[in-house]
Assembly symmetry: C2
Amino acid sequence: MQIHIRAQDGVPIYLQIVNQIKYQVASGRLKPGQELPPIRNLAETLVINSNTVARAYRELEQAGVVEKRRTAGTYVTDQRSPLARRERQRILIERIDQLLAESRQMSFELDEVIRLLNVRHTILQKSDGEGTG
Amino acid sequence: MQIHIRAQDGVPIYLQIVNQIKYQVASGRLKPGQELPPIRNLAETLVINSNTVARAYRELEQAGVVEKRRTAGTYVTDQRSPLARRERQRILIERIDQLLAESRQMSFELDEVIRLLNVRHTILQKSDGEGTG
DNA sequence: TGTGTTGTACTAACACAATAGTACAAGATG
DNA sequence: CATCTTGTACTATTGTGTTAGTACAACACA
């Protein structure tokens, strides 16, 4: 499994791990049921403390991305399962509520928010595919 | 001007001030051109340090909600001005980009995000108007 | 031009989040 | 049952964000 840590980056190490694993699961590079490296291994590879990896795994479990089987390792959750989907939706709704609260504070109408959402989606998708094929 | 600070609340004092002033501007309770209390006054009223209020005002200026005229006080920006609108839109776009990035990580389609946005908007608006008339 | 009021700048104290160090608990495996 | 490997728990250290203390700079206004 490929993880890259940037010390300069203001983003906490454990979050960099979380994000990259999330991304790899979403993109299909990590598949359901696949085992993640043990905490100690990954920590050694990245030359960081085991506890930092442990924290990342804990967050990933909370987010429903992985499951831990106490002494038998950490595995990628099947994202297609209804339970996993429910969990992801719950998180998405939190974000959406935040966005709505903020746009209301800034006196934006729902229509405008949705319009911008479409615009940005198109733009981001375009600039996204350029490098990766 | 009415501001209420909760010490227990995990939210930093300066952010509580920012949020409440933003809200009062959005709701029309603070009108364009209206002068905010001087930093020292508000600090004394809330029994906090002047610097904390100064920081709140700085953030509000950054967000385009108020304008500071060096030694002449702090005033509510005219939100209807094109410049102010542009500024608010810039901030909204940042939030939207974050939401899109996250929903992509969680493998949600744009349609689903927009659908939930509509649903949550309806729900939040309903529970919102109940108390305020 | 002197005085008062405005926001600013710099530093310190404190709290908390992030990370590391180390010891522990529990199940797999022979 | 002994041992290895898994994740966990607790504590210490370090860095950063929040707040406070205090001194400063700039403009209004008499």
